[in-house]
Amino acid sequence: MDIELRGITKRFGPVTANEDVNLSIRSGEVLGLLGENGAGKSTLMNVLCGLYSPTDGEILIDGVPATFDGPGDAIRAGIGMVHQHFMLVPVFTVTENVVLGVERTGRFDHLDLATARAQVHAINDQYGLHVDPDALVENLPVGVQQRVEIIKVLFRSADVLILDEPTAVLTPQEVDDFFQIIKALRDAGKALVFITHKLNEILEIADRISVIRNGRIVGEGLPKDLTRPQLAEMMVGRPVSFDVVKKPFAPGGTLLETRDLTVLRDTDEIAIDHLNLTVRSGEIVGIAGVQGNGQSALIEVLTGLRRATEGQVMFDGQDITRTSVRERHRLGIAHIPEDRQTVGLIKNFTVAENMVLDTYYDARFSRGPRVDWAQVNKVSAGFVRDFDIRTPSVFQAAGHLSGGNQQKLVVARELSRETKLLIAGQPTRGLDVGSIEYIHKRLIAARDEGDGVLIVSSELDEIMALSDRILVMFKGRIVAEYDANAGPVDKSAIGLAMAGAAA
Amino acid sequence: FTACQVTDTGGIDDNSFNQTAWKGVEDAMADFAIDGRFLESQAETDYEANINSLIEGDCDIIITVGFLLGDATQKAARANPDQRFSIVDFAYEPAIPNVLGQVYSTDEAAFLAGYLAAGVSETKILGVFGGINIPPVTIFMDGFVRGVDHYNAQKGASVSVLGWDIDSREGLFTNNFESLDDGRAFAQNLYDEGADIVLPVAGPVGLGSAALADELGTDKLKIIGVDADLYFTDPQKSHVYLTSITKRMDATVRQVIETAMNDTFNGGVLVGSLENGGVDLASFHDLDSAVPQEMKAELDTIREGIIAGTIKVRP
């Protein structure tokens, strides 16, 4: 089955997510769709799978124009999508998730799960997926959940599979397995669309590549004709240097130290297991690891958002294991949270209010029980200017700023305090290249001024580019450590460690 | 001339208490060609406000209905000495010059009802429950229990009454004058414990008990009505009422309005009793055949005894 997108345009109010996109998808072929964050990849595919209706343009299936009035139509037409954020019901079993929407029933609308279970087994066998049809999805690791998503699509006998950033949540080893599955699907005659912004992956798996920028297709070609720098330039719109400029490494004394730190998740499982690490001032420590290995819990316990069950956290020679979030802020720990837009700021609050969200109590901004709003507004206006945040006024609701400016607001707030240690979770997730450069510059500046910096990121490239020291976390422990200043670090070794090979 | 009335929370259409009192105003409206108005109290907090809005509204007499309005009426009467008030079920001690209290020796009629019920009951167990534990309610229960005692003493029987302990003054109370559902549940409870005649002293709540009796059949459960003759005010369920203990608030209210109209109004107390017809036992209507002739004769004798003072309904 071949699909042709012609002149697709999609607007959300004033935002144009896709403009005049032409694309063809053919059976027995993997089409790689490359583009940076916010380029419009997901939107385009959501149009294709019927979730959005295009503002303009048409979709041809085997040369026949098709209109989708909802995802059901697209599914019936043989188009299935594995979404960037999984669309699985956690409390359902694999089989229930798979049949949802295309259930077979007996009398009185009775669900026939037995037949479905047999079909899941068959799909398992055909593509080597190994998924237990009766497992509850919430108990499955992400890698398996992804396979459930694929089974879902295959169960609907889709001929076209759209995979939106499927590798973002996988370890390098899981990626290899995953590519095997893709190849098996391709060889079975399916048409595949593989979305990513990772250059190596696309070069490895795609049969054909299209690059999308600002909602438009800006380049197409075959992998053998394209190089990494070329692709990067197409994607970003200008030559990209993959280098980072830092001052020579001159670490100071130990700033942060954990001793046998153990932390439980809300479910009583162990998230961090007797973990020991140190961060010195003037160094950037990067923590690599696949999501779900305790990185978020580590950040939470270091910033005081979660209690340690056992062990100690020392900061600047002081035991802060039981110290509150507020007190840690006062001691000089700054935190740029992973999920900045939802936990870093309050969308209905003004820019000024957000600017003092964790400093309003400080003598600069308050008089006794009262907040000195005049002072807050004045200082905020200064920060807005210094950090180049684009807003008409400090009274603008933060939610009305663009995504990038919201991020800058959080960074401005955290960096404008007196800090000794900067903890940043996924510091560049969801950012465009300009903002990424900006944030990287700021992080390095902090290190060069003598602050300790702890970065947790699932982007291995980012960790490798910034860190002085790289720690790999697996199942709540540090399983490997690399000194980046001692010479080049072997990326595949890190990958293996992330998958637990060193443990 | 305008007569105004403030009801208690049961509502003007309760088929018993408030409705009987309002009937007095309606009768006066018909007989003397006057205006009548009423204001329903939704909650106890409305009493004072309601009385005040009637004071605003040029009423020649304001009749408040119910013991619970006693304090609010007193307050209003003190503040407005020129306004005439009358209150049902409350007597002030000492009397207030511009308030005429209407009280009833309900226990006299309830005594008869107790004697009757004790004689008619087959299970020899009777049930009674009240709305709120206040004198105008418990006076029914007192009279009823003493009537049963009288029967037991006379006949050497041992009929028992569930739901009211005359000495500890504790018993079954719904704590409201509104919930019909409570009326059904309380009657069911008493029926489960063997009672075959139930006396609900809670205004409209009793209609719920009547619904149960209707469903079970009068051979299993009979109801004794209060305030009005429920045979007439609750015509759909009329057959379940063995009798009613009537409290002729309609008559006293009409009478009070009349005194106010011809300027013979005086503060004080107006007492309704068996003697003056202010309270009485209604006829047996449909259940007449359930009451032996002998019992009817005995009731007549007791009635005369009470009026003559030879039978004491109060110790």
Partner: protein, 376 residues
């Protein structure tokens, strides 16, 4: 950037057309629509046009048409505003507290007990002390739900509903305790508070039937304090932050648990004051139904006032006026006061669903939502 651009950044936003629509036109339309629908309801129940007219005239007359009408309006509004302020405070802090009714009951009981226990104290001490007792006990009762939420995650909607039901039973129980029950009565009713504990009636010198009492000063003070607390104080900033986005508040180092308990306690204190206001200013003692649904009506008042102290003030006055006017309506036109309940509910429907008002009265608004939303 220059200094002038700094000043631009700090220039407060002008009130735009869309704010005016939200703050004035929507509520106005809501009231008009509710009155029209109320009239239709009357028509549907066989009330003739003349009586409908008469009843709306009576509504106006009974709410603002005379000194005594205004007095009644203020008397009815005071507890609604007090409890409404408490609820608004809770809503701002992200707590949907249905428990004002129970807090009113507990606060009122505390005020009564304090009042009749310390009869020897002079008014200058006894009255504030009784009010304080009401506020304190209301706060304590409310903080149970707050604490449960913090310690166990129990949702406050359910726990406050349960606490209301518990409060009713507790009240019935307490009113029969020999030490509380009025002498010589067997029904649940408390002793009366002495004059020294009562909130004095303000206009009794003109006419003893004018019930408006010193509680309205309490209301004004409460409005000002809540305004200051919410929008000027550090604590209020924390309330609002954790109400808007509890996660972000926690990340910013605010102690969410403490904030929830404090917010619940403040809400309970205000509801407790509403109870104290009733027993000390209006009733003089406690009876089983003395709360008369204030706690539930106050939910509506807080929603109508959009959880803003000034909004709550006006919403409470509106509800008070409707209540006072409704009584007049029943006296003059014979239309049941229950109509007021319908009108109140309809007003809130229209206010809480602006999309609906726009659908019903499209001509009241600028065309197209794009302009209003993408304005700045």
């Amino acid at each position: 950037m220059t200094d002038t651009s700094m000043n631009d950044l700090m220039k407060a936003k002008m009130i735009g057309r869309s704010e005016i629509e939200d703050l004035i036109i929507v509520p106005l339309f809501a009231i008009v629509a509710a009155l029209i629908l109320g009239a239709l309801t009357m028509l549907a129940t066989n009330v003739d046009l003349a009586t409908i007219g008469l009843s709306y005239v009576a509504l106006l007359k009974g709410s603002v048409g005379s000194l005594s009408a205004i007095s009644e309006t203020l008397t009815a509004a005071a507890p609604l505003i007090l409890a409404g302020l408490g609820l608004a405070l809770g809503f701002r802090a992200g707590l949907f507290n249905i428990g004002a009714e129970g807090q009113v009951l507990m606060g009122g009981m505390a005020a009564v007990i304090t009042g009749f226990t310390f009869t020897d104290l002079p008014a200058a001490i006894l009255m504030p002390m009784s009010l304080l007792a009401g506020a304190l006990v209301g706060a304590l009762y409310a903080s149970i739900a707050g604490w449960l939420r913090v310690a166990t995650g129990a949702h406050e909607v359910i726990s406050t509903i349960m606490l209301n039901l518990i409060a009713y039973r507790l009240l019935d129980y307490m009113l029969r305790l020999p030490f509380i029950q009025k002498e010589g009565r067997a029904d649940p009713i408390s002793k009366s508070v002495p004059d020294a504990a009562e909130l004095p009636r303000l206009l009794a010198f003109i006419d003893p039937n004018l019930r408006v009492h010193a509680g309205i000063f309490l209301v004004l003070v409460a409005v000002a304090v809540v305004y200051w607390l919410l929008f000027r104080s550090k604590l209020g900033f924390e309330f609002r932050a954790s109400g808007e986005n509890p996660q972000a508040a926690r990340y910013a180092g605010m102690r969410s648990g403490l904030i929830i308990v404090l917010a619940m306690a403040s809400a309970g204190a205000l509801a407790g004051l509403a109870g104290a206001n009733q027993v000390l200013g209006v009733l003089g003692r406690a009876t089983p139904g003395f709360s008369a649904g204030i706690g539930f009506d106050a939910i509506a008042v807080a929603l109508l006032g959009r959880s803003h102290p000034i909004g709550v003030l006006f919403a409470g006055l509106l509800f008070g006026a409707l209540e006072a006017g409704g009584r007049q309506m029943q006296v003059d036109a014979g239309v049941s006061i229950d109509l007021i309940g319908i009108i109140q509910a309809l007003i809130i429907v229209f206010i809480a669903a602006p999309l609906l008002v726009r659908a019903v009265f499209p001509w009241g608004f600028r065309k197209g939502s794009r302009q209003t939303e993408g304005g700045q």
